[in-house]
C-alpha cells in the first residue's frame, strides 16, 4: 500500500491548520457564509438535512486495519457510533459538530487520511476498481495512477473553483468495476500496441438529471502524457463549461453542446500547451508509487479445509457461491463482505463492525481492505483455507450475508432520511425489498440482479445503471417511484428505460416483485441473467406485468 511521504504528511497537516483557522474566521466574520461554503466543501464538510456531514475520502477504495480502526474511533467519539460507505469510495459521518471537525481531520491525518476535495466544485476523490491488484482479469493495477492523479488534483491552483464537481474513475480491467462510463473522466487501462500500457480516455459521462454515457476522447493515450492531458481537459472545461446554470455546468453538458469532435480538437490544442510544463519527473514518481503497491507475499498452502467446509456446511457454501471472486493467485479468493444484511441500511457499518473488519483483515487478509462502489467491504487477498474461520467471525457480527450481486445487494442513496435535496425516501424502500425477497426465499434462484435506488433526480444511487433502477420523486407531496429497466454499469454501460408511470410507496415493492416474477417466467434458463433476458425480450412483457388491467384491479382490491 502507498504510505504518505513527508511531503504528503506535511501537506495534510498544513491544510488542517488552514481549515481550523477558516472555521475560526467564519465565526469571527472574516469569511462570509458564501465565502466559507466552498472552503468547507473542499474539505469534505457538507450541510445536510439535520446536521453537518463529513465525507472522508478512501482513495481508490483502499485502506488497512489501522485506518479502519481509526474510522471506528471517529464514529464512536464524534458521531453516533456508525459510518456510511458511499457509492464513491468515501465514508460519511452524519452527525459531527462544526467545532469538532478540525479535530476529526487531525485524527484522520494520524492514519494518513483526509477529507480533501470530497465535495464542492473540485476534482473529487479518484475512484478505482475495488478488486485492483487482486483480480484475475486485470491488465494492470489502477491504484498507482489513481494515487498520482490524487496528488496532481489535490489543491490544484486552477481547479479549486470549477463550474461544478468533477469525478474521475480508473479501471485496470476489461470488466470495468469502476463504472468509468458514468464519470466526468473515465480511464481504462488497456494494452498498447507495443505491449506496454496505455489509457482509453472517456469524457462526459455522468448520471444525475441528464444521464449520459461517457464518450471516447482518446483511444490509447501514452502513460507519460496522462497528467498534461487531464490538465488540458479540465482547463478547456473550466473556461468553456457553463456557469450560468448549475444544471448545465457538468462537462457532460459541455460535451453534448459542443460535440465530442470539437472538444477533442480543443483538448488536443490545449494539450500542446500543457504538455511542455511537465518535465517527466511525474513518471519517476509514478514508478515509486507503483513499487509501494507491490502485491503481498502470497502463501502456498493446502485448501482441503475449504473444500471440506463447503461440503459440510450449506450456509458456508452459499456464502462462498455468492461472495467470492476469482483471485489471480493460486489458492486465494477475493472476499466481498456484504453491508446489506436484509433490513439494514445499505452501506452502514457500526464501529464494532469496522473493528471486526480491521481484525479479520489483519489476521486473514494481508492487512488490506477495500470499499466498493456497491457499498460493500472487500478483503482482496484471503487464502481459501482461512475462509471457514473468517466466515464464522463475520456471521457472528451480522456481516455474513450471502447476497453479493443479488436482489438484496441494493445500492441506495441516503434519501429523505438524511439528504436535504431528497424528494423521497430510499433506504426504507431498499430495506423492504430486501426483506420481501428474503421472505420469498428466491434470491439465489433469481441470481445476478442489481437494484439501485435514488431519492431524487441527482441519482447518487446510480439508478440509471441499475438492472432495475428506482427513482423516488415527489408528486404533489406524495412519494412516487419511477422504475427503469435494463441499465448496465459494466464495460458496455447502458442507461435504463422507463417502464411508464411511477408507483406509490405501497406499490413499489410489489412492482419489483412482478418484474422479478416476469423475468423468472421468461428467462431461457437459469444461466440467462436478468439483463440478458431483458435485452432479448424487451420491455413489453414487463410493462404488461406492471400495468395491465387485471393486475391493476388486483392492486386496487389489495389496497
Amino acid at each position: 500500500m502507498y504510505r504518505y511521504t513527508d511531503f504528503d504528511a506535511g501537506f495534510v497537516a498544513e491544510r488542517n491548520r488552514q481549515f481550523r483557522a477558516q472555521v475560526a474566521r467564519r465565526i469571527d466574520g472574516s469569511l462570509t457564509e458564501d465565502e466559507f461554503k466552498p472552503l468547507r466543501l473542499m474539505n469534505g464538510l457538507y450541510l445536510q438535512l439535520h446536521a453537518y456531514m463529513l465525507r472522508v475520502a478512501i482513495p481508490y477504495g483502499t485502506l488497512d486495519s489501522r485506518q479502519m480502526r481509526q474510522l471506528a474511533q471517529i464514529a464512536e467519539r464524534w458521531d453516533k457510533g456508525y459510518g456510511h460507505f458511499t457509492t464513491r469510495q468515501n465514508i460519511q459521518f452524519n452527525w459531527p459538530v462544526l467545532g469538532d471537525v478540525p479535530d476529526i481531520l487531525d485524527a484522520l491525518a494520524e492514519v494518513e487520511m483526509h477529507a480533501i476535495q470530497t465535495s464542492g466544485n473540485t476534482i473529487r476523490n479518484v475512484t478505482a476498481d475495488h478488486f485492483a491488484g487482486a483480480a484475475a482479469d486485470e491488465v494492470a493495477d489502477p491504484r498507482p495512477v489513481a494515487e498520482l492523479i490524487r496528488q496532481w488534483s489535490t489543491d490544484h491552483p486552477e481547479f479549486q473553483f470549477l463550474p461544478r464537481k468533477f469525478k474521475i474513475a480508473v479501471t485496470g480491467s476489461p470488466a470495468d468495476r469502476a463504472v468509468t462510463a458514468a464519470h466526468d473522466i473515465g480511464l481504462r487501462i488497456v494494452r498498447a500496441a507495443d505491449g506496454g500500457i496505455a489509457y482509453q480516455v472517456l469524457v462526459g459521462g455522468g448520471l444525475g438529471r441528464t444521464p449520459m454515457i461517457g464518450k471516447v476522447l482518446h483511444d490509447a493515450l501514452p502513460e507519460a502524457d496522462l497528467l498534461p492531458y487531464l490538465e488540458a481537459i479540465v482547463s478547456v472545461w473550466n473556461l468553456l463549461g457553463r456557469r450560468d446554470n448549475k444544471y448545465k455546468a457538468r462537462i457532460k453538458i459541455t460535451v453534448h453542446e459542443h460535440g465530442i469532435d470539437e472538444i477533442r480538437r480543443l483538448v488536443e490544442a490545449r494539450f500542446a500547451e500543457t504538455r511542455a510544463a511537465f518535465s517527466g519527473i511525474d513518471q519517476v514518481m509514478l514508478a515509486g508509487i507503483r513499487a509501494a503497491f507491490a502485491p503481498p507475499a502470497f502463501r502456498d498452502a493446502p485448501v482441503d479445509a475449504y473444500h471440506a467446509a463447503r461440503d459440510a456446511d450449506p450456509v458456508f457454501r452459499a456464502w462462498t457461491d455468492s461472495n467470492l471472486a476469482a483471485h489471480r493467485a493460486e489458492g486465494y479468493a477475493i472476499v466481498q463482505v456484504s453491508l446489506k444484511a436484509h433490513g439494514a441500511t445499505p452501506g452502514d457499518a457500526s464501529a464494532l463492525q469496522m473493528r471486526v473488519l480491521a481484525d479479520v483483515a489483519e489476521r486473514y487478509g494481508h492487512d488490506e481492505l477495500r470499499i466498493s462502489h456497491e457499498q460493500n467491504v472487500v478483503l482482496p487477498h484471503v487464502h481459501l483455507s482461512d475462509l471457514p474461520a473468517l466466515h464464522a467471525i463475520l456471521r457472528a457480527h451480522g456481516l455474513g450475508t450471502a447476497n453479493i450481486g443479488k436482489v438484496s445487494d441494493i445500492i441506495a442513496c441516503p434519501g429523505m432520511d438524511y439528504c436535504a435535496l431528497a424528494t423521497a425516501r430510499s433506504i426504507p424502500v431498499a430495506q423492504e425489498i430486501a426483506l420481501r425477497f428474503d421472505a420469498l426465499k428466491i434470491e439465489h434462484q433469481v441470481g445476478d440482479l442489481k437494484i439501485k435506488i435514488s431519492g431524487c433526480i441527482n441519482a447518487c444511487g446510480h439508478h440509471h445503471v441499475g438492472h432495475i433502477g428506482i427513482l423516488g420523486l415527489d408528486r404533489a407531496g406524495v412519494e412516487n417511484y419511477q422504475i427503469t429497466l435494463g441499465g448496465d454499469q459494466g464495460p458496455d454501460a447502458a442507461l435504463g428505460q422507463r417502464t411508464g408511470p411511477g408507483f406509490s410507496a405501497d406499490e413499489i415493492v410489489p412492482a419489483v416483485e412482478r418484474i422479478v416474477e416476469t423475468y423468472l417466467a421468461e428467462r431461457a434458463g437459469a444461466e440467462e441473467d436478468f439483463l440478458a433476458t431483458f435485452r432479448r425480450i424487451g420491455m413489453a412483457p414487463f410493462k404488461a406485468a406492471l400495468y395491465d388491467a387485471p393486475d391493476k384491479e388486483a392492486r386496487a382490491d389489495a389496497a
Binding site: 501537506f11 498544513e14 491552483p157 473553483f161 482547463s235 473556461l239 519527473i281
Partner: protein
C-alpha cells in the same frame, strides 16, 4: 480605493500604469482563450474576478504564462485570502482588493499564505 496584496503584505497601488494608456490590459473572467494572445506584449494584465467562486481567472493566468507572458499579472476583485496561494501558483504577481474586503480580511490573514511555494503538489509533479 483599493489595496494591493503581494508576498510582502498590503501596499498602495503605486505602480499600475493607467488602464487607458494601453500599457495595461484588463480582461473579464469570461475572456476566450484565443483573446489572450493580444495581451502578450502588454506591460501589465489585470484579470477581473467578479466572484470568489469564479475560478476561470486562474486558468486564464496560467495560459498567459504558458504562452510566454512575462509582464505584471494582477488578479482584481473578489479574491479572498484563502485564494492567495492559488493565485500566485497560477501565475499572478499580486491581488487587488477593495478596502471593505481588506478590512474584513486584514493583512495577517493574507500574510499567512505568503508561503505559497511550500506544500505545492504541482511544483513536485512538474519538475
Amino acid at each position: 480605493m483599493s489595496v494591493i496584496v503581494t508576498d510582502a503584505g498590503f501596499g498602495p497601488d503605486t505602480h499600475s500604469p493607467d488602464p487607458r494608456s494601453g500599457e495595461a490590459v484588463t480582461m473579464p473572467s469570461d475572456t476566450a482563450p484565443e483573446a489572450l494572445d493580444a495581451a502578450l506584449g502588454a506591460e501589465m494584465v489585470v484579470i477581473d474576478f467578479p466572484s470568489s467562486a469564479d475560478g476561470r481567472g486562474f486558468t486564464l493566468a496560467r495560459l498567459l504564462r504558458l504562452r510566454g507572458y512575462r509582464g505584471r499579472l494582477r488578479a482584481r476583485g473578489h479574491v479572498i485570502a484563502d485564494q492567495y496561494a492559488m493565485a500566485r501558483r497560477a501565475g499572478f504577481d499580486e491581488v487587488e482588493i477593495d478596502d471593505a474586503l481588506a478590512a474584513r480580511q486584514p493583512e495577517d490573514q493574507w500574510r499567512l499564505r505568503a508561503d505559497w511555494q511550500a506544500h505545492d503538489y504541482q511544483a513536485r509533479l512538474r519538475g
